[in-house]
């Protein structure tokens, strides 16, 4: 593609942001923006990752294979897609699951959220602030930071493995329950290794808070689940800072998707008009009171207050969630009596929807299933599809405020902003 040259007309320089392929994100996307006289003349956030048509080809498949297939929507949050699909399908077919399955799925999802946050913070987001193209220079320059990252990630992955069978694309969670119940001893070992990285998690919050995160305030509507006395993971009410309070079954009455000409991801709007933000910042803005004591303490130590309107601080919200996640998992495992059980069920025809909090925010799955167990309709909306319109809106507000910087600096600020959302473009064009 031919590079457009910077054009200067009169005294007002036109500045251009052009990224064909955004690095250190999951999947493929670019931005093009043109700023002139401090005004945004053109702005396109283009997710050009090829479409995969999951909602299309799931039709005609059987209910028992859907959770495996949809977990392949995302290589970073497969467990979220899996647990959301399982719950939606179990609702659609009127199948009850045991309390044990519910708790195990919560720990499984939480362990993956912790791992995903750790990777995003250290490998994808932090290099920008440290002035590196990747995390690799950190290995030699700040070995203690790199080792902390490894310790935490290993601990989170080991918990996912104990319950799910392996760290990536787990296989023991199936429709109706689990193929095998995790070994009590291994679960205790995994909980111990989480305890050992608790201090690292607190240190991570301090580390992220110490980075030169830009001051940028853009008040969005924040949408997240609201847990019942606990931090929301796999279930809850859907609430927003604009006053929305609804259930997952009524999601489609409020949220719409539309297709745009320049991007493969659909854009979501709330009640027909407004963009909104989902993810760690949205969750913490609406669930601060149910965070663990240590998570609240570290938040006040680094001066994080809600409501917080700086999208760049989504990274800090993620770090605080890691602390809460570790406390939550340790707590659940400690108060957990495992019993041997096998999935047993009869399916009925029906339709069901489920919303969970994936690492990147609100994830919606809905299915219609025939009495033979065939999928008749599938509807999936991912966190990044929810966020796409808001990312574009944030960029349009950000660009005029930084138009006096050099093109290189403007580009960096835009990249940092998009990365702060921890977008998953693979998910968005599922």
């Amino acid at each position: 593609m031919a590079e457009k040259r910077r054009i200067t007309i009169g005294k007002s320089p036109r500045k251009q942001v052009k990224i064909d392929y955004l690095a250190r994100t999951e999947g493929e996307a670019g931005i093009y923006a043109l700023v002139s006289d401090g005004e945004v003349k053109e702005l396109k956030f283009n997710i050009w990752e090829p479409a995969r048509f999951f909602e299309g080809f799931l039709v005609g498949r059987m209910y028992y294979e859907v959770h495996d297939l949809v977990s392949r929507i995302c290589g970073i949050c497969p467990v979220s897609h899996m647990t959301t699909a399982l719950r939606a399908l179990e609702k659609a077919t009127s199948v009850q699951i045991s309390e044990q399955t519910r708790v195990l799925r919560r720990i499984l999802a939480r362990s993956q959220i912790i791992a995903s946050h750790i990777i995003h913070l250290y490998m994808l987001a932090a290099p920008d602030y440290l002035g590196h193209p990747s995390i690799l220079p950190v290995i030699s320059e700040q070995p203690d930071v790199f080792k902390r990252f490894l310790r935490m990630k290993t601990a989170a992955n080991s918990l996912t493995t104990v319950i799910g069978g392996r760290a990536l694309h787990t296989m023991s969670a199936i429709f109706g329950g689990f193929t095998r119940i995790p070994d009590r001893k291994n679960l205790a070992i995994a909980a111990d290794s989480l305890k050992n990285v608790k201090e690292d998690a607190l240190e991570t919050v301090r580390f992220i808070a110490s980075l030169p995160i830009p001051d940028f305030y853009s008040k969005s509507i924040y949408v997240s689940l609201r847990g019942d006395g606990a931090y929301p993971v796999n279930e809850g009410h859907l609430v927003s800072t604009s006053g929305l309070d609804t259930t997952e079954d009524r999601y489609r009455e409020h949220f719409e998707e539309r297709q745009l000409s320049y991007t493969n991801s659909k854009y979501s709007t709330l009640d027909g008009k407004e963009s909104f933000m989902v993810g760690a910042l949205a969750r913490i803005n609406q669930n601060f009171d149910v965070l663990s004591d240590d998570a609240k303490a570290i938040a006040s130590e680094v001066g994080f207050k809600i409501p917080n309107y700086n999208p760049y601080l989504n990274n800090l919200a993620q770090a605080i969630e890691i602390v809460d996640g570790i406390d939550d998992c340790i707590n659940l495992i400690a108060n957990f009596k495992l019993k041997d059980e096998k999935p047993a069920y009869n399916i009925k025809a029906g339709e069901g929807a489920a919303i969970t909090e994936a690492p990147r925010g609100v994830l919606y799955h809905s299915y219609r299933v025939s009495k033979d167990g065939l999928i008749k309709k599938a509807d999936i909306v991912t966190p990044t599809a929810h966020n796409a319109a808001n990312i574009e809106k944030n960029l349009s507000l950000l660009l005029p405020t930084i138009s006096n910087l050099s093109e290189k600096e403007i580009t960096m600020r835009c990249e940092q902003l998009i990365r702060a959302y921890d977008p998953c473009f693979s998910c968005s064009v599922h």
Partner: protein, 277 residues
């Protein structure tokens, strides 16, 4: 052949993503930590998920992740093939089309219309494995790839040796783990419809060890007996439809697995996977 002028020189490596979930790239990041020696052997000159460094130097080794699903992909892939001395198809999507290739078994237009109101704005063709268009030197199979196989491959490439290719079925590795056979001992599609006897090993039977039937993500073994596999499934009471679905989850485009899916479609499978000569 990848030449190493002296032993200090790393192999210049580029990682490219096509249509997939990015999980195998993600596994590569994970393997950096698992095997720090990777970074001693390979110099990643292009790896978008890990670094913002642009591709501005030649590379010898290309990793291809994902299936081919747009017309632009074909040209990009051929271009990569021209530059790379060795090309690795890594992950089920690159090796066999993977989960997105399920789309190929249905009417393409109706699948696309279920997702996008205006399909003209979406660039998309049938999903194909990488070897549909270019020659592939090495495969790393599985969804996701396996770390032991990955390290074997890297060491072999650097030493310019032929890597160990597993021709045996998953069953061999499952037996070595002393697992109880899920195909014979368990009930239900999710837990007992096991493709282990016809699927290429190398995963150390991770699914069956977790009491889960093998779903064939690594594609067919060398010379599998598909007809007998289909007969066994039928003997267990599984329907033609169940059998077709199982064979078309991850590697349905392979000649062997599409044979298994014929039980449902009758004599003619809707798609024949051609290998580049």
């Amino acid at each position: 052949m990848i030449s190493k002028a002296n032993s200090d020189q790393k192999v210049k490596t580029a990682v490219f993503k096509f249509t997939c979930c990015a999980g195998c790239q993600f596994a590569l990041l994970y393997f950096f930590e698992l095997f720090p020696e990777t970074l001693e052997l390979l110099d990643f000159v292009y790896f978008k998920m890990a670094t913002s460094k642009e591709l501005d130097e030649p590379y010898e080794l290309a990793f291809i992740e994902g299936g081919i699903s747009t017309p632009e992909h074909i040209e990009q892939l051929k271009d990569i093939r021209r530059q790379a001395k060795k090309l690795v198809a890594f992950g089920a999507c690159a090796a066999h089309g993977g989960v997105p290739s399920i789309k190929d078994w249905q009417a393409e237009r109706s699948v696309e219309e279920r997702v996008y109101p205006d399909t003209l704005l979406i660039s998309s063709i049938k999903v194909s494995p990488v070897d549909e268009f270019v020659e592939v030197d090495y495969y790393l199979r599985g969804c996701p790839i396996d770390e032991v196989e990955y390290m074997e491959l890297i060491r072999s490439v650097v030493a310019d040796k032929k890597p160990y290719v597993r021709e045996h079925p998953v069953c061999v590795e499952c037996k070595l783990k002393n697992n109880i056979c899920v195909l014979l001992m368990r009930e239900g599609v999710q837990e007992s419809m096991c493709l282990g006897p016809v699927t290429r090993g190398g995963c150390r039977a991770v699914c069956t060890t977790n009491m889960r039937a093998c779903f064939g993500c690594r594609g067919p073994m060398s010379n599998p007996n598909i007809a007998e596999m289909v007969r066994t499934f039928k003997g267990k009471g599984f329907s033609d439809k169940d059998i077709k679905l199982r064979f078309t989850e991850y590697a349905g485009l392979s000649a062997e697995f599409s044979e298994g899916a014929r039980a449902y479609y009758g004599r003619k499978a809707p798609y024949y996977h051609r290998k580049v000569a």
